[in-house]
Subunit: 383 residues, 2 copies
Amino acid sequence: MKNISILGSTGSIGKQTLDVVRQHPDSFQVEAMTAHRNKDLLLEQIYEFKPAIASITSKEDAEWLKANAGSETTIYHGMQGIIEAATCTAADLVLNSLVGSMGLLPTCQAIKAGKTLALANKESLVAGGSLVMKLAKIHNVDILPVDSEHSAIFQCLRGENTRQVSRIILTASGGPFRTLDKNQIESMDPSCALKHPNWSMGQKITIDSATMMNKGLEVIEAKWLFNLNSNQIDVLIHPESIIHSMVEFVDTSVIAQLGLPDMRVPIQFAISYPERIPLKTEKLNLSSLSQLNFEEADMDRFPNLKLAFNAMDIGGTMPCVLNAANEHLVPMYLEGKVSFYQMAHIIEKTMHKHKSFVYESVQELHEVEEWVEEQINAMVQEL
Amino acid sequence: MKNISILGSTGSIGKQTLDVVRQHPDSFQVEAMTAHRNKDLLLEQIYEFKPAIASITSKEDAEWLKANAGSETTIYHGMQGIIEAATCTAADLVLNSLVGSMGLLPTCQAIKAGKTLALANKESLVAGGSLVMKLAKIHNVDILPVDSEHSAIFQCLRGENTRQVSRIILTASGGPFRTLDKNQIESMDPSCALKHPNWSMGQKITIDSATMMNKGLEVIEAKWLFNLNSNQIDVLIHPESIIHSMVEFVDTSVIAQLGLPDMRVPIQFAISYPERIPLKTEKLNLSSLSQLNFEEADMDRFPNLKLAFNAMDIGGTMPCVLNAANEHLVPMYLEGKVSFYQMAHIIEKTMHKHKSFVYESVQELHEVEEWVEEQINAMVQEL
C-alpha cells in the first residue's frame, strides 16, 4: 500500500490520479489532498477518499470544509496547508499537480521531507531546475515525471545507460493552430486556442499548447530531469499524439513510448513505479489508426518555442523569467488584453531586460517573478 | 576486447557483422569464421581479420584455403569445422548466421561450450526452441537476438519485468506482394519475390518475406526467446520498416524500437551488449519520412503466417515440420517447380500428415526433417 499526497486534487491531473487510485484500492491510499477554489469537489473527494489532511487556498473555504467534512480529515488552508500536505509523515509519495511556479516551494519541501516526487508541475523545474535537482540529489529522492512526454522518455531510459543517449526527441501535437499561417493564428479567438486536438487538459496548459510554450517548458524540464545538454533535445511535430516521445542512442537505435492520449497511463506509471500494474482503459490499435504523421517544428509561427530554447541556453534565472512572463500573459490573452503574438513579443522584451544570474533559493526566484510582473503590467498598459 | 566467432561470415549478416567489427577494432576481434561455398570471399576475410580458425563446407575448398591462407589460421571443413568455430576456447561470443535448420546443432554446441550466443539463425529456435532454451538455462548462457524484430523486443524489454508484458507486436513490411491480390501474387515471377522493398537480405529470407513465412518463423522464435504464450504475439503490417517491433505492457503503455532498416544496428547491439557503442550510419529522421503506415496482417493472402501460428499452437515437432517443409519448397519455388500458393498448400498437407511429439534431441528433429523431405518430394512429383 502506497500513501499518496495529491497537490491539486481537483484539477485535471488530480482527478485522473484519483481515477487511478479508484482502480487500485489495494495499492494506493490518499493521505492528503489540496485544492485551489473548487471546495465542492474537494468535499466530495474527502468523503470518498477520507484523507488525513486536506487543504484549500482561502481561509473561508477551509472553515466551510471544517464544518462539512468528517472528523477524520484535518483541514488546512493557504500555502502552509499545501506544505503540510507535501510533507506529512504518512505520505510515501507526493504528486505535485499544482499549476504554475507556485508549485516550486511545495516541490522543494516535499523533497526535503524525503518524499518520492511525482511531478506534473513542470514549472518547478523550469523556474527552479538547478535548485530542485540539487535538493533531490542531497535528499536521495526520486523525481518521477507525470507529463506524458517525460514519462515516455523516463520509460525509454529504463535499463539503459544515460551516457549512451545521443538525444531525446520530444513529440508535440502542434496544437489547434498547427496548420494555420501567422495571420490566421493572430486573428483566432482565444476560445479556439482552448480546443486541443488530442488532450483534455487545464486552461493554462491548453493555451501553452496552442503557442507551443508548453513544449518549450517541457524542453527545459527535460534538460533537468534527464541531465541533458541543450543540443541533445529536439522537438518533433506528431499531430496524432500517439508516440509520446523518443530517445535516440549512440548506436542510432531509437526507443519510443506509445499509447492513446490518456494521462492516466503516465500518472499511474509515476505512482506505481517501479512496477507496471494493469490499467482499465482503451488499448492502442495502430492498424485502426492506420497512419502516424511527423513534421518539423516551426519556430517562426511558434516563437515561444524558440524563446524557451534561448532561455535554456542562457540558463540561471532566465527560464524563470520566461515562465513567469508567460504565466502573467496567458490570462491576459484569454481576456483579450494581448494578442497571440504580443505574448511572444512581450516575453522576448522581458527576457532582454533581464540580466540572468545564478540563484540559490526560492526567495530569489520569487523576487525575479515580482520584477517580471511589474515589467509585464507596464508593457501591457503601453500597448 | 570481445572475441567473436562468426558462423556464416560470407552471408549478408556475416558481412555486415564484419562491417561492425571494422568500425570498432579496439572492441572486437574475429576468432573464427565459417562459410558455405564462397571461398574467395572467405580468403579475403581471413587476410583482413586473421582469425585463429576458419571453416568451409567442402573438403576441396578447405584444401584450397590451406594452400592460400596464412599459417595463423587453422582451416577446417564440414559440420565438424562449424562446431570447432562454435566452441573454440578463445571465443567469448558466437554469432550464428547460418541459414536453415542446419544451424541448430552449432547453436546447441555453442551453448554447451558456455558461449554467449548472438542468434541470427532463427530456425534454431523454430525447430528446436524447447531444447535450445533448456540448454541455455542449464549452461546459464545469454541468447541475444540479431533479427531486427527480436532485437527491437529485446531492447524494449530492457529494465522491464517480463511478467508485466501483455503482448508483443512484431512488425512486418508485408514484403513485395503486400498490395497485390491472390491472383496477382500467384502469377508473379519468383524474381519479383526477390525484390524486398526495404531490406537487403539473403535469397531464402527474402522469399520468406514475400510469403510472410519469415514473420511466421519470427513469431515462433519470439515465443521461445521471450517465454510468451501464443496469444501474446501479434503481427502488424508496417510497410516502412521503421518501427522494428513493440511491446505492450499491462498498463497499456507500448515501448517500440525504431531505426532505419540497417541490420548493422541489431548486429552491433547483440555483439556489444550490454553496452551501446557508436555506429557510423545514417540516423532516423521522422520529419523527413513524414509518415508511418500500419495495417492488419492478411492471413488469407499470406497463409504461411497462419500455418506458423498453427504450428506454434500445436507445438512439439510441428514447428520443425513447418520449417523443414518451407526450406525444401523455397528453392523449388525459385526454380519454378512449385507456385506461390502451392508452397503453402504442401506445407499444410505435410503438417496434417505429421503427428507432433515432444522431442528431446537434435537427432529426433533430423529424422523428422528427413521424413518431411520425402513427403515433399513425393507431393511435388504428383503435381
